[in-house]
Amino acid sequence: MPGKLKAKIVAGRHLPVMDRASDLTDAFVEVKFGNTTFKTDVYPKSLNPQWNSEWFKFEVDDEDLQDEPLQITVLDHDTYSANDAIGKVYIDIDPLLCSEAATVISGWLPIYDTIHGIRGEINVLVKVDLFNDLNRFRQSSCGIKFFCTTSVPRCYRAVMVHGFVEELVVNEDPEYQWIDRIRTPRASNEARQRLIFLMSGELQRKIGLKVLEMGGNAVVGYLQCFDLEGESGLVVRAIGTACTLEKISTLPSTATQPSNSSPSKDMKDSLQAAPSTFGCRSTHSSPVHSASSRLSQGFSVSVPTLLFSGMKPRHRSSDAPRARQCRPVFGEEAPGVPLSSGPPTPLRAQTFSSFSPSKSYSRQSSSSDTELSLTPKTGMGSGGSAGKEAGPLKALLRQQTQSALEQRGVSSSEAFFRTLEYPFFTLTSFPSGFLLHVGGVVSARSVKLLDRIHNPALGNTRSYKLLDWNSFTADEPETRDAWWEEIRQEIKSHVKALGCHAVVGYSESTSICEEVCILSASGTAAILSSRFMQDGSLDVEHRLSRQPVVFTSGADRVEGDMGSSASLGFEEVAPPGCGFCHIPYDELNIPFPAQLTYCYCCRRNKVPDVLFTTIDLPTEANVTGKGCLIQARLCRTKKKGQGEGNATAISNLLPFLEYELHTQLMNKLKLRGMNALFGLRIQISVGETMLLGLASATGVYLTALPSPGGIQIAGKTPSDITYEQHISNMQKKINDTIAKNKELFDVNPPEVVEEIIGSPIPEPRQRSRLFRSHSESSDEVSELDLSHGKKDTFVLEIDDTDAVEDIHALLTDSPTPPGFYSCNTEIMPGIQNWTSAIQMFTSVRVFRLNNANLTNQGLNKIFTDLCENLLKSFYFKLRSLTPCCLCHLNFTVAIPEDELIQVAVTAVAMSFDKDQALENGRHGGEKTQIKAIHENDEQLQFNLELNPDSTKGLADISGSHPSAKAPSVDYSSFADRCSSWIEQLRLKAHTMRRGSIKTTSSLEKNSPLPEGRSRSLRSNRSYSGGSVAVVKMTPLSFIPGAKIIKYLGIINMFFIRETTSLREEGGVSGFLHSFIAEVFAMVRAHVAALGGNAVVSYSMKECVFMENPNKNQAQCLINVSGDAVIFVQESELEATSVQPQSATTQTSNGGEGT
């Protein structure tokens, strides 16, 4: 009995008229929690009832408090017939369970009905009294804080980052239950809303439990998703990063930072005496014992994730993952085919799913399942640590990276990360010093058939009893849990291939069409500093709202540590501005063909020619000029199909889709004169007759990387004069565009010719087979021409229709109008002085394909136009905010029906002060510049040579481990796919050749920190009757010009809206418009009731829209989430430094959170 929930119903207002005769309503309220219901008196004949009820008290377990929402139903009393429901309010109690979050929920909340929308508001008061020490109740995880924010939340410091947490729960979808045929749509919708509420609560509780076991007190980067699988059920899944957070006191906090002993000691701590480090240093009293017990079992590093392995369905035969990896899934080839493993050197990746020499890893590794004993000679005594779970893979990975490790001197971090089951981090930005190197994007996809899932447990479920899929199916490989595990393993293997030990900016998604489901995961391979993982405290007052005192103290410490560790030879000193660009893999043993040069900043380490990542641009990164949104869009038709055939067809299409997306991205990147992508998000959506691919990222020019070359068009048959003219026209256009873009984004460093030291290119053999024999391989260190558009640029031959299409795609992207910038990341390099004017918006468009027989090109054009027109609309609508930047532009595509394409966008427009922006731009121009060569042709040949081999190798593997293990059939035998894939590549190879490139770059240091100084909008002049407090919403983790002083809890809301009078509500647009507005209103109201004035890291994760205009019906489901916060304007903060309530009262040990 650890908790008492108290609720008081104060009043209602703006109620709808329920009694036509009197034009009034006799309203009363039912308050329900769990199985207990209380009622207020009927307040007769009023649209603004004043119930002023007593306190309704529910005595409940904290487990229930976490799972269940408080349900408030407003009804109209009717003496003679049944009472009519007016609407409901669900209140998530979770924020009240955490001592640091909200203490009371109080305010006007919209009364929501799934058929009528918002119908008035109700004023409630909700409180929770918690008894006892919560930690004793193992079923609950009260007190664990959840954050959607994918960086360490402001006003917290990460004492420790524990690692990846994931969980999923499954249930029948009420919409598909038999009872749904006899109940009303309203009842059905409400059942669904409530179920998802319960499932989210349960999911959160379970994740919380895992965090507790790991010894953490918070989940950062919490990402929860729904899979509406129709008949086969409803999946709610979540991933996140477990951390131990500590509230930053307002005082300079030297005392709260665990003093670091020497690095060597740290390493020892981490590897041998980790438990004590965990438990004591972080000052939280969570279960240390579990960690230490593990230790005694021979885990040299007690990484909390290990603790979970026992709970997982891990008993599959050890080779299962490997076998499964031979699925058609594109990602599969990744260790070898950088296509999926992505763009550390995307250029090549796309070009040819090359199998680089390192590919042999996979072969080796698969055969080395038994080599568990093989330990890297790390000297850390970590041998065999991970042997128990996922043995083969671990071993494999270890083996793969071993040589590299040996060469570089193994750092403690690597040893550390190797022991994590999934060294994945959902974070996208990190305190300086945490992210050491970035390898590139890793991704994996898998196509599954949903109707193949037969879960006996499901048949037995009744209504809302929640099923924990894991518990039922621990030994069943064909669970969704197992699917995800496969994918994650795959990601992990890609990471190893890139010489990295961790994935950052990790996310997972699905696309479902009927019975086919594409599971995708992607992230960025990286090497992290282990010190942060074990003992270091991450200062969070980093980038945007940096506080000089805290920040510098953190930075100092970091530097000191890094210095010392470097002196010990474990980790090189990475200069903050370029260190993350340095290749993590061994240059003599590159996992894929890469063009390496010495870093243009420090000249000491090698960097790739292009860098793709899924994370945010590190604040300390040296960037030249500004960034910009880059999108690749692709539509591919497919035949209608069913079952396995359909799934196979889809998996066969996927590689081409990804390949072309990468090609587009690369072309567009070059067109803008940039060399790196951040925040890359590739979305593949499946429909009955087509596949949609949308890749979005923010392009920047990293000063450390070589300058990209131009794009050169070449005709294959230079005989025809008009044709030549045509080509030269196009060439001119492209050159003009590049020049214009460079100016637009300030990517225009003065040119300095310098000698380039080329990187060793793995196979001299291919070079001889180049089409373009003149290519200056970097080894030849030739004098290079720096201008683009000359001989050594990226070459597109336009005989090929695809190439023509590419060029068109390149040139049809209309430039952003003056005064606008755009990006899909948190911050925009080159813009710092934000004002406090922000405008978050959501826009949805659905396009109907009227012409049934569209070609791929036709579809592409439609899809591209759809996206471009959306952007144009934004620029127009937001013109009053200029100069401004559209930040965090998040596009979501879907194919809701056969002939419909849906694009939903959420973003925030932030205006900035123009003068200063210009100044910055000028600054950028005066920096250093360098040049580089790119050598691509070779890679192409190389890959072609190698692929068949590797394919065979992998095919063998798949053969030897028949994937019968996974009844969830994987469609596409790897071998088949590979061969067709290679054919495709061959085709491509003939039409597209890439040459080396050189241009110049400049150095610029950019650490955008917003300094809005405008006034807060908080107080609202009221007319009679009081006014509504302004609640800001933003998909970013910060509010410009303001300081977040308190996190009040996570907002995670799910709504269904249905109508049977579509025309009367203004058609589909009117219907959706008001629904989105209602969702916003409800989010704002709940935040305000928690005492907050903003939502940060807001996202609309689901927007499923279905219509049936003939029946005049439509239905829409929306899921939104974010972090409710209290912020104060920096100007106010300065003025009243004593005032902020919570900021000053929080003590430094608040981080315990329990």
Binding site: V844, R845, F876, M1033, G1070, M1082
Partner: protein, 356 residues
């Protein structure tokens, strides 16, 4: 084809120009045309599709807001749209703003369904779209209904319930007052008068002739004329029925005006007629029917005769001033306060209504 297209901002984005077009009753396509003609495409590098999408979106937003605008006080504490206060004020003010030409047409008419049906005539006559006419008419009706039953000062009530700026509230008060008392304004002879002419008169009547004007206790409404006062007005008849008084009055006025006006002879000749006219109007006001004809009577009995004699406004002003003041000097005339209250309003109204 784009089947669904919505844009929702956390802060509701509203373009003043589009709002005005919406209020003016333009269709989406017409509004787009107007915007294009305004040169916005060149200015913002926008295409027709973008404009169309934006216009539709805004129109939808306005339609959703309209429900709230019917009860402006709700706009401030509704949760659906986050609108900054200054924007809210703008929305309300413009929604309730009306065209004088339209108001002139329905002034004094019963705000009934029948009148609403005839709005297409009004629309044709005033060149205001039917849609806009309906909105303005509904606004009149809504304000009328709310204020009708309220006690206290009319203008203040309107301002508080509809959050309108002062001038607009006064105009509404005039509309409500006219509708309530059903003043005839449509006769041909009154056509030359503008809405603002009537609005000023209404203001005068409200401030001086209603019960609220004398009784600050706000026991009754401002909408109805003070019955007692109307009763008392009958007493003024003595000014024309008593021959002596009439002559005395005439000589006093003539003495005062002699040499001060170019129309002295005409004035002298017409004095008795004019005086009879004004006093008869006063005496008959107790009848509701005659209240309706108040403005007609003023025009027929006073303004037209003066105009045909080519009086200037200055002449009229001079005459009315002395006509009013002289009455107080009359020995046997006792009804000074009623006279002042009556003539004050009459003078203001006539001066406003007297277009040379």
């Amino acid at each position: 084809s784009v089947e669904l297209d919505v844009f929702v901002g956390n802060t509701t984005i509203m373009d003043k120009e589009v709002y005005q077009l919406w209020l003016n009753g333009y269709t989406v396509n017409d509004a787009v045309k107007v915007r294009i003609d305004g040169g916005i495409m060149e200015e913002c590098e926008a295409s027709v599709e973008v404009l169309l999408s934006d216009t539709m979106d805004q129109y939808r937003t306005f339609q959703m807001c309209e429900r709230l605008l019917h009860h402006p006080t709700k706009l401030a504490n509704q949760l659906l749209f986050q609108i900054p206060p200054d924007r809210q004020a703008m929305l309300i003010e413009r929604y309730y703003a009306f065209d004088d030409a339209f108001a002139r047409e329905v002034l004094g008419k019963k705000l009934s369904k029948g009148t609403k049906k005839d709005l297409d005539d009004v629309s044709a006559k005033t060149n205001i779209t039917l849609k806009s006419c309906r909105r303005q008419f509904d606004n009149f009706k809504r304000v009328f209904k709310v204020v009708e039953e309220l006690k206290g000062p009319l203008v203040e009530n309107i301002r508080q319930h509809f959050l309108l700026p002062d001038q607009l509230a006064r105009d509404y008060a005039a509309v409500v007052f006219f509708a309530n008392n059903r003043f005839e304004t449509g006769k041909k002879k009154l056509q030359y008068l503008t809405f603002q002419d009537f609005a000023l008169c209404a203001g005068q009547l409200i401030n001086n002739w209603t019960l609220g004007a004398v009784d600050n206790m706000m026991e009754d409404m401002d909408v109805d004329l003070d019955k007692e006062f109307l009763q008392d007005l009958k007493e003024l008849k003595i000014l024309i029925t008593d021959k002596d008084l009439l002559d005395q009055h005439k000589s006093l006025v003539c003495t005062a005006l002699r040499g001060k006006t170019n129309v002295f002879t005409e004035m002298e000749a017409n004095f008795k007629n004019l005086s009879r006219g004004l006093v008869n109007i006063a005496a008959k006001l107790i009848n509701a029917k005659d209240v309706r004809d108040f403005f007609i009577d003023l025009v027929e009995k006073f303004i037209e005769p003066c105009r045909s004699d080519r009086w200037t406004s200055i002449d009229v002003n001079l005459y009315l001033t002395h006509y009013t003041n002289s009455a107080h000097i009359l020995d046997t005339f006792k009804h000074h306060s009623v006279w002042t209250r009556y003539m004050g309003v009459i003078k203001s109204c006539i001066l406003r209504m007297y277009h040379e």
